[in-house]
């Protein structure tokens, strides 16, 4: 009994240290920001516009790419195919590529003279310096999180349940939408939130593709360069608080949905 208790204490201690590691720099920043500067920043239309832009472009990027990423995750969880390990490695690449390099790669992919660029021009869309380009840069660096989380979720759904449904006459599509996806839902939502969050914080890849309109990470950098820490900090604090509220709300909504499924 005594041994069991002491390992719990060790875990609690280590866990607290990790939490402190995350909280301490943030708290330091919060404490250095006066409530008045925070209030004034919240009134600044450039700041609120930028935060809104960051949220909706990342949300759009996540939603759009989820349509293709979740099926890919399902395939990775269920099927064996040659070079599967290579594919898994490729999916992890965007995480490790230095952000500026990713931005330059994307630039080469969507600029005027490329296939993507020409398609864009045909519908009047120029990716450079445009929310569409921002969304692509955000998606590129964050999609691995969604694919990996969703894949783990699907891998956790017992195949025999799916097979049972098939033997009872359900189509594979019905099996996917009524059994696999709901049972993997918690992991998929985690992946969606991670992809959304990671996209929101991207700077290096986005700034190469689009400086204007400014997403908040770029705005903070510009404010710091032009006006100094004093004016960059309130923007950071505001952004962090709004993001925190957003993620708590998203996870709470996901839990609600999950408990419905469990019924």
């Amino acid at each position: 009994m005594k041994r069991y208790q002491s390992i719990q204490l060790v875990f609690i201690l280590l866990g607290s240290l990790v939490l402190l590691f995350i909280l301490a720099p943030l708290l330091g920043m919060f404490l250095k920001t006066s409530p008045q500067s925070l209030f004034e920043t919240a009134k600044d239309k450039e700041v609120t516009g930028s935060i809104w832009l960051t949220i909706w472009t990342s949300m759009a990027a996540t939603s759009l790419f989820a349509v293709a990423a979740i099926p890919l995750a399902y395939l990775l969880a269920r099927k064996k195919f040659p070079l599967k390990k290579l594919v898994t490695g490729i999916i992890d690449l965007p995480i490790v590529i230095p952000h500026s390099a990713a931005g330059i790669a994307i630039l080469g992919f969507v600029s005027r003279d490329t296939v993507m660029g020409k398609i864009g021009s045909a519908i009047g869309l120029n990716f450079i310096g445009n929310p569409a380009g921002i969304a692509i840069a955000m998606a590129f660096v964050s999609i691995p999180y969604l694919i990996n989380a969703a894949r783990d979720g699907f891998a956790g759904v017992p195949e025999r349940i799916e097979k049972a449904a098939l033997t009872l006459g359900a189509t594979p599509a019905r099996v996917f939408f009524t059994i696999s996806l709901p049972l993997a839902w918690r992991n998929v939502v985690s992946g969606l939130i991670l992809m959304f969050a990671r996209g929101m914080s991207e700077f290096g890849a986005v700034i190469v593709v689009a400086y204007h309109p400014m997403i908040t990470p770029v705005l903070i950098y510009e404010r710091f360069g032009a006006f100094g820490l004093k004016y960059a900090r309130p923007v950071s604090v505001l952004f962090i608080l709004i993001s925190l509220a957003l993620f708590i709300m998203l996870r709470w909504l996901a839990k609600e949905r999950n408990s419905e499924v469990a019924k």
Partner: protein
């Protein structure tokens, strides 16, 4: 037995003394230099040559916009020995007097239009028609952000000078309004856009074109901010950029572009910094490399705080009369 220990002791004592002597006179250690993006290529060369003379100095070069570099010193309290800015004004306004005491103006540059073989209309562009060609729909050009980078505000000033020089009213506004999605914070970010083919032309320093083997179109001296002879003409143009706080604005007048360099008052490695500056500013050493890279020397120029210059560096500046 005693004799052995005695000999050992004497040897140790002598070594320590020699080592101490060596340390006092030697130039060594880390040397931190914050510099403008456009100085990246020449400074890397100069650092390599400097290391041939002083191999024990580890030179740490950090490139950033001139204002961002100053902020690293003033706001982030990051240690720095030398700061070299593409606009001497950044040092005068942001670092003197709290962080530095003096400023040496050392090289100039000129604004030009840089492009590649594959740029649209590359075969036709010249110093008489560039403003018409750039306004065409299929041509895209980029420039630096005036609020973040001296190259940015210099570009807009040269648009105004062009309006007067070519006698085309409204020219400055027309060009500034076009292709704003290709504005980037630092002039060297534009290179990525140009080299990837996303844009055809960029407004950037001639030295950068030379260093990156790109084609460039020389603009008339009346508008390229190169020459002291046209200082009065340059001063007829002005631009408003972000001031010290969000919402506040500052006016910047046109003037010949001059780069400044200083040693920070709290420089962690003053001996190496002075040695580096002596090397950089020497006509046959650092300055020769700068000229080779497309940046002519302007030494010596009047320095406002001439009296505060270290004696080793006084030969590189002139006193204000």
């Amino acid at each position: 037995m005693m004799k052995k220990y005695f000999l050992l002791f004497i040897t140790a004592l002598i070594s320590i003394c020699m080592f101490g002597q060596h340390k006092n006179n030697a130039i060594l250690g880390d040397l931190i230099i914050y510099h403008a993006g456009s100085l990246s290529v020449p400074f890397k060369e100069i650092a390599a040559e400097f290391n041939k003379l002083y191999p024990d100095v580890k030179i740490l070069l950090e490139s950033a916009g001139s204002v961002a570099s100053a902020r690293k010193i003033t706001d982030l309290n990051r240690p720095c020995d030398i700061m070299a800015s593409s606009d001497y004004g950044v040092i005068d306004n942001m670092l003197i007097p709290k962080y530095a005491d003096w400023n040496i103006k050392f090289v100039s540059n000129e604004l030009s239009i840089v492009y590649q073989e594959k740029s649209r209309l590359a075969g036709q562009i010249n110093s008489k028609n560039w403003y018409e060609l750039l306004m065409k729909k299929e041509v895209a050009f980029g420039r630096a952000d005036p609020n973040a980078d001296p190259c940015g505000y210099r570009t807009v000033i040269s648009f105004q000078l062009a309006e007067n020089f070519y006698k085309k009213p409204g020219l400055a506004k027309m060009i500034s309004d076009k292709d704003q999605n290709y504005i980037r914070p630092k002039e060297v970010d534009l290179l990525a856009l140009l080299e990837s083919g996303s844009i055809d032309y960029i407004f950037i320093y001639r030295s950068v074109a030379i260093q990156h083997n790109l084609k460039y179109l020389a603009l008339p001296d009346e508008i390229n901010l190169k020459s002291m002879d046209f200082a009065a003409q340059y001063a007829t143009a002005a631009i408003e950029i972000n001031g010290k706080e969000p919402g506040k604005k500052e006016t910047v007048k046109g003037e010949p572009m001059v780069y400044g360099v200083t040693m920070l008052r709290d420089a962690p490695n003053k001996p190496a910094a002075i040695a580096f500056l002596q090397f950089l500013l020497a006509r046959d050493k650092g300055m020769k490399i700068m000229e080779k890279n497309g940046q002519p020397s302007v030494l010596p120029m009047v320095s406002k705080n001439y009296d505060k210059l270290p004696k080793e560096l006084k030969p590189f500046a002139k006193q204000e009369k």
